[in-house]
Amino acid sequence: MNAIIALSLFGISNLFLGFLNNRKILLPATLVFILIALGLNFADWNHEYYWFNNMLKTNNLSVNFVTIILLSTFLVVAISRSFGDDDEHSHPAEYYAILLFSAVGAIMMVTFENLIMLFVGLEILSVSMYVLTGSDKRSLRSNEAALKYFLMGSFATGILLFGVALVYGATSSFDIHGIAQGVAKAKEQMGGAYGPLLYSGVILIMVGLLFKISAAPFHFWTPDVYDGAPSIFTAFMSTVVKTAGVAATYRILSISFPSVYGLWGNPLVYIVCATLIIGNITAVYQQSFKRMLAYSSISHAGYLLITVLAKRPETNSSLLFYSLAYAIATITAFAVLMVVSEAQAKNGKADESFEALNGLANNNPLLAFSLTISMLSLAGIPLTAGFFGKFFVFSDAFSNPSSLFKWILVIAILMSTVGIYYYFKPIIAAYMKKGEVAKIELSPLYKFILILTTTLTILLGLAPDLVKNIF
């Protein structure tokens, strides 16, 4: 948990590094900071500790989630070469600092023991993301995305807080284990029924969190915000924010409210189905690669929620494996998208459509290959990490005795076949369509990250037990 303190201090020191004339030092410094935080995080392995007067708790599950979050942050920072070392108006020190601060928020969201910390962590993460979304100040699209994200995000926070207040009224506690006891007591007093306070409180908390992880029908802001934000921050949003959101949802539902499963489980079934169907079907109609990735992130929220819903003992490891596979593949896809869209820019505006990828394989075999592997992983084709992610999630759903899960499984499998269609679009564009992409010069670090993520995706697809046993 010292990772939280370390990252906050590193964020501040990053701001001071911004005063230096040499901006080249910022990127390596930030990478080193994240690696140190990652090392500190492993110190909590195999210990169950309460921190800061029972506000946070670390155990192996939370250490694993923090590892995924910090790893994603590391990868995103490593591919962030476009913060503009040359531009007078760019503020790389501030962006790196805000990224570190938002990682602190994400870590608080996966280790919280008290709803106060859930709220504070969520807000640290969200407020940083509002700033980063609007960081391209002169672009109208970025402005609009920032405003939409801000208004929808604070709306969702309001809903979450009202839920927290109602649950507090029903159980007189903010501690997640205290709430679980309060829920049991309240249920006893009411003779097995749920009081109206508890009922609406649980639903509102769930809605507030689902807003953040963009599950349908609360997804409408997602494509606009992901599309308008600078690509590097979209990559951060669709990996770190989503992982933290799903982990927080899982933590609160599985620890505080397992005894009222019927209350949140039944609505969540419909939400999962709607998320899978809307996310996948709408992604088919997209013309822009970036917007397609936004819808794909909605659909992956649906798959992640299946295993939260299935409530099996294996849920922990499936959730971790899926988040890891999804994060690595998404960051690879964004890494390719960023360089290609800039190389294909028209009138100074980055071209993010599928056409920009036409003929990518001719001059840039590494980019095309990484893109292919990441798309195959997102689609869930065997021999990639994504396949085993989906496999574990589906087997959780299958081993749940309720017959409802057979129907969810049918929808999920149908929708992943729909997914194959749109994930193959960029691959076809890169290898089969006629077009010309000039050879793109990549920095050694960028090349290294692409090779690393691609290898990881294939390695986890060949031997998932390597990490599955750790989880």
């Binding site: 106060i116 807000e123 699209r141 709306f155 009202f162 009224g169 506690s173 109609y285």
Partner: protein, 109 residues
């Protein structure tokens, strides 16, 4: 002087719950129907303040200070949100000379 929790307890708890719920609903309706970014923003603040009221009422009825501590956190974080939110609105106003969210339609599917 009477203790503040006792003053709060002179009104039945149900009234507080209904009043906060009403404020919260007014906030939601404001967010969903208004087009001016500042007014939407005010509606969000109204939602947060209805939560504060509810937490204070619960906390004095249960004689548990945790609820009031939470209120401090909400106030502090809401202030941070206001700072970022107004900055975003000013940035938009500089670019398009209006804060009508209906006119922001560059991003459509």
């Amino acid at each position: 002087m009477q203790q503040i929790p006792d003053v709060i307890r002179e009104i039945p708890l149900n009234y507080y719950v209904w009043f906060s719920a009403a404020l919260f609903c007014i906030g939601i309706i404001g967010v969903l129907t208004r087009r001016n970014a500042i007014i939407i923003f005010m509606s969000v603040e109204l939602m947060l303040n209805s939560v504060n009221l509810l937490l204070v009422a619960f906390s004095s009825y249960k004689a548990d200070p945790a609820g009031q501590i939470f209120v401090f956190f909400i106030m502090a974080v809401a202030a941070a949100e206001v700072a970022v939110g107004l900055a975003i609105i000013v940035m938009i106003y500089r670019n398009i000379q209006t804060i009508d969210v209906g006119l922001l339609n560059k991003l459509k599917w």
